[in-house]
């Protein structure tokens, strides 16, 4: 009984009147599928979609001393796009992204490939020790590096003086962005490495066989097989890094306490939006900034993804390309 109706109903189902209604079994399964999705999408809509729409709405208003909130059209956006503080912040995180992300991901990829080749000693310990900083909150990492950078008592300066190199100033306006890049690199190399390493481990062995017959060396193997095979994972780390760089907050806001001259209140767009909203009480303008920042991130991510996909299509990617 349980089998035959399912089979039997499939044929008549193609007849017009019954076509739209799947058989009861399928309908039950569809219902279950939606029910499984409902909890996630309730939170998804209330915590992602609604705030996004609300930010867009808020950004179209202006708060006046007299008259309260007044519709302002795109005035906040015009202001943001001509606001040198915002643009400078955006430029700074753009620079951060262009320099720090290749270094961080390059190092992570090198480490993942090195560990995957199993040619170093103690790779398991290496893998875990490099990953540990990921479990350290950005707040703690920044506090810690803040002390390490210290010109008087920081150990880096102590060592540098001991070998006669003088005192490096990591907290000057010129070097602070680099110092911040170092903190973020320290925090996230391990995380990216683990994602890449996991992807490398799931490459099927058959892919290596042909290369092995051709006598390909480790570098050739890495370049021609391993890296193309983990392109989706690499893309993931790139996207996460775009988001991470463009919304830097904890690092600048904490370094501001140590180096107020080097870090302005608009050092990064996110820090700027925070200061606008909570110090200056300019909520509408802050919403416009936050919204614009989201748009910038989406655009950059989109183009990076597009570039990646094009390269993938050109290259020979016969590995499961699923949406």
């Amino acid at each position: 009984m349980t089998h035959s109706p399912a089979l039997a109903s499939e044929r008549p189902a193609s007849a017009p009147p019954l076509k739209k209604r799947a058989n009861p079994m399928k309908r039950k399964q569809r219902l279950a599928a939606y029910l499984f999705l409902v909890p996630f999408f309730i939170v998804f809509i209330t915590m992602l979609v609604v705030p996004l729409v609300y930010a867009g709405y808020l950004s179209l208003f202006e708060s006046k001393l007299i008259g309260g909130d007044v519709f302002a059209g795109l005035a906040n956006y015009v202001r943001a796009l001509t606001d040198s503080a915002f643009l400078a912040g955006l430029g700074r995180v753009g620079l951060f992204f262009i320099i720090q992300v290749p270094i961080m991901l390059g190092l992570a990829l090198f480490l993942a490939l090195a560990l995957d080749s199993a040619r170093g000693r103690g790779s398991k310990a290496v893998r875990l020790l490099i990953f540990v900083p990921y479990a350290v909150p950005a707040v703690v990492a920044t506090l810690m590096w803040g002390y390490l950078y210290g010109p008087d008592f920081g150990p880096i300066a102590q060592i540098s003086r001991a070998v006669g190199l003088g005192t490096p100033d990591f907290l000057s306006p010129e070097s602070i962005l680099g110092s911040m890049m170092n903190i973020v690199t320290w925090e996230f190399v391990g995380y990216n490495m683990i994602i890449m390493y996991a992807a490398l481990r799931s490459i099927p062995a058959e892919l290596y066989e042909a290369a092995e017959i051709d006598g390909a060396g480790q570098f050739r193997l890495a370049w021609s097989i391993k890296i193309p095979a983990i392109r989706p994972a690499l893309m993931l780390t790139v996207i996460f890094s775009i988001i991470g760089s463009f919304q830097l907050f904890a690092e600048p806001s904490l370094l501001n306490a140590i180096a107020p001259d080097a870090i302005s209140t608009s050092f990064t767009p996110n820090y700027y939006a925070y200061n606008l909203a909570f110090i200056n009480q300019e909520l509408n303008y802050a919403a416009a900034i936050a919204f614009l920042l989201g748009v910038v991130i989406a655009i950059v991510s989109y183009f990076v993804q597009l570039a990646g996909e094009r390269r993938e299509r050109v290259g020979l990617a016969e590995r499961g390309i699923e949406p």
Partner: protein, 311 residues
């Protein structure tokens, strides 16, 4: 010499031990091809990642004066770890412990909730066909790209209208969304749960929810641990969201609390010399997560590896 032998033995074991997961032992395997250069390079990198933490540990054993008068990378002055811990847990009526507890509660409730939601959604995407599936999944994937901090501000305003700011919910509810978790669970469930098993359960007359709970969840173990740990870290380490949502310091998580202590310390006006307290607090605060990652590594690593990031 001996190194050659052990590596040979290892590869043999791997290919004999019928099931070393997705990849069978590599044939081109490193027969004595261990590279000294690579080992040195790897361990130099390890130094870069570990030395700052070593500094943190060493510094948490120093009192304030030793902190600024002895070499940072080695012990010096009196061994003051116990006094520091005492100060840490008694400063401002023991608020540090309170912050730790808050962090635990926020992180565990958020991670458990996020994991449950992500698992149900990921399972549904992986194992069912339904109209709108592609659209909904694209929306989820697209959301990975939305910067959560850009949302924090409007969320704050909405929550303040709802009277939810300055309550634990303000930190927990936004942390329940984990689009990346859904993505991970979808890929993981697609691999880990054979369709045949679900069909068999259906033939036996099990309902869809029972199949999920009794067949699905059991096979999703490593995936669950992975999504749980990564959501746990996301909430545990979050600074921006609690910073804007909470006003009362007794509701702070550790990140906001430490930042507040630090700014009190560098303001210098305070009568207490707080630097060593901040450092000891930082050290204590990172221990739970580090330990969790070490103990659960087998699970979360296989959760990531077996399909977790195939895309």
């Amino acid at each position: 010499m001996t190194s050659i032998d052990t590596s040979l033995i290892k590869t043999d074991n791997e290919s004999d031990g019928t099931q070393s997961p997705p990849r069978t032992a590599r044939r081109y395997s490193p027969e004595g091809r261990r590279s000294l250069l690579l080992t040195v390079l790897l361990w130099l990198c390890v130094l870069y990642f570990v030395l700052p933490l070593w500094w943190l540990f060493v510094s948490s054993t120093k009192n304030n004066s030793a902190l600024f008068s002895t070499f940072g990378m080695w012990f010096g002055g009196d061994f003051s770890l116990w006094e520091n811990l005492q100060t840490l847990f008694t400063v401002r009526d023991g608020i540090f412990l309170r912050w730790m507890l808050n962090t635990f509660v926020y992180a565990f409730v958020s991670a458990a909730g996020a994991t449950l939601l992500a698992t149900m959604a990921g399972y549904s995407f992986a194992k069912y066909d339904f109209p709108g599936k592609k659209l909904l999944f694209s929306a989820t994937l697209g959301a990975v790209m939305i910067p959560l901090t850009a949302l924090a501000l409007p969320t704050y305003l909405l929550f303040s209208q709802a009277g939810l700011t300055d309550t634990p919910w303000a930190v927990i509810i936004p942390s329940l969304v984990s689009p990346f978790g859904v993505y991970l669970m979808r890929v993981y469930a697609a691999d880990a749960i054979p369709d045949g098993l679900i069909e068999a359960a259906r033939v036996d007359g099990a309902g869809e929810f029972r199949i999920f709970a009794q067949v699905g969840l059991r096979l999703l173990g490593p995936g669950l641990v992975t999504v749980f740990l990564f959501s746990l870290v996301a909430t545990w380490n979050n600074y921006f969201l609690p910073l804007i949502m909470l006003n009362s310091s007794e509701l702070y998580p550790i990140t906001v609390g430490l930042a507040q202590l630090q700014s009190a310390a560098s303001a210098g006006g305070g009568s207490q010399a707080l630097f060593s307290t901040v450092i000891t607090g930082s050290f204590v605060s990172i221990l739970p997560l580090v330990i969790a990652f070490l103990f659960l590594q087998r699970y979360w690593q296989s959760g990531l590896a077996s399909g977790g990031v195939k895309g």
